[in-house]
Symmetry: C2
Subunit: 257 residues, 2 copies
């Protein structure tokens, strides 16, 4: 059995998220597995590094699968891109060590949330941004982001029910940039809880409008209850930019973004 | 009667172009007129500066219409954006002098053709770019573009049948830029013939691949026959960026692109 590492792009608009579901089938994982069964003639499991939700996009999702095949990486890339729908693409295929697992070996992930901060529609990007026209205090948002950065129990920032699993994560960086009418929030962390990026963004937007103060962040983290954090913002503004491994990253190393 | 000048954005993918058609109705002009009839309660004619073809996009189309209405420009903007489909948006509404005509008064237009010059799919922009993976000699393309710039009879670069109308136009500038995997061709001219930008682009791409030489441009212009020029490239890569008037431009003055 060979182990292949894939880097994938997709527009999440039409899909019920990454993860294969028993009943209804329109998921990214489901599409990829169905195609690889055809390619290899045997059942294939595709492991994705990030289980993106319905409507969330990916510029650099990483996945891997084990298969017996005589095809080269280049041939697999061509085959997959020929048959995948136009909103999913494979950017790279490489052979990985047998024990490589895209999720378990991931050292970190980078997500970006795009806010279109204007009343004026920007129709070309409408599927990839959240329209939020209220005036934003970027300096206050950055101050709040500074308090959220670091290792914390983020249980206030997830929609997942409280369970046995740890909700401690490390946020290495939250970068907030204004580019014309757009405000981009980029999150780099060792891992993210269910809905975490979208709730962090909703909370930072509430700081931007003055509804919350930067110093409230400490309090929200300490109380650890979902109701103190901000709103869950829509999925369509969110993109999984990249999955980082100790061996290096695909986009960031090349300075692409 | 008041005269209103509109600046419009649209994604052309779903439409049969700008111009209203007698039989089948899915045009940008048709959509706008139907909406303005509802808004004003009277027939309205919307004049567009550029009659973009089916599938061509606009970032800064300009149009105007005469109407009797007590609504302010701001109210018209809000009304239109509330009821227009998500792939058409009004960016600005202002009152213009009674004699202002968006097309007849236009001093120039700027079109951009986006070429995605890689084998790797870029799915987020797939509706706005032409995938052309062949290696391109940008320097040769720029040399050819230099020969096409200026005042010429562009009858070799149009799909329109030869008629009485002049096919002389002035191209002020053709800018060719590489941005990562993308090559953008930006055309600024006093006016453009039917399919002219797409045939110019096809011709410049043929220079880029080496199929034509830069010096062939002079010959093509002189012979003035369509068959000597390059291919008509697909509509989806083309965007009407801006319409310029002697009074100034909307985007360019602000340095937006």
């Amino acid at each position: 059995m060979r182990n292949f590492k894939l880097i994938l792009q997709y527009e999440g608009t039409r899909y019920q998220g990454w993860q294969r579901q028993e009943s209804t089938g329109n998921t990214i994982q489901g599409k990829l597995e169905a195609l690889l069964v055809k390619m290899t003639g045997a059942p294939v499991q595709v492991q994705g590094a990030g289980r993106t939700d319905a409507g969330v996009h990916a510029l650099g999702q990483t996945a891997n699968f084990h298969a017996r095949t005589a095809l080269s990486c280049e041939e697999i890339l061509c085959y997959m891109n020929r048959y995948l729908p136009e909103d999913i693409a494979v950017i790279s295929v490489e052979e990985a060590p047998a024990r490589f697992h895209s999720r378990l070996n991931a050292a970190g992930k980078i997500y970006r949330y795009r806010v279109m901060n204007t009343e004026i529609p920007h129709i070309f990007d409408r599927r990839y941004v959240y329209e939020f026209p209220a005036r934003l205090d970027i300096a206050a948002m950055r101050a709040a982001a500074g308090l959220l950065t670091g290792t914390h129990d983020f249980c206030a920032f997830t929609s997942a029910k409280k369970g046995k699993k740890s909700t401690v994560r490390t946020l290495y960086e939250i970068k907030i940039e204004r580019l014309g009418d757009e405000v981009d929030l980029t999150y780099k962390g060792d891992g993210f809880l269910y809905h975490m990026v979208r709730i962090l963004t909703g909370t930072l937007l509430a700081v931007g409008t003055g509804e919350k103060r930067p110093e409230d962040m400490t309090d929200i983290l300490e109380r650890g209850a979902r109701e103190y954090a901000g709103e869950l913002v829509p999925a369509k503004g969110l993109t999984l930019m990249e999955v980082c491994y100790h061996s290096g990253s695909f986009y960031e190393d090349k300075g692409i973004w």
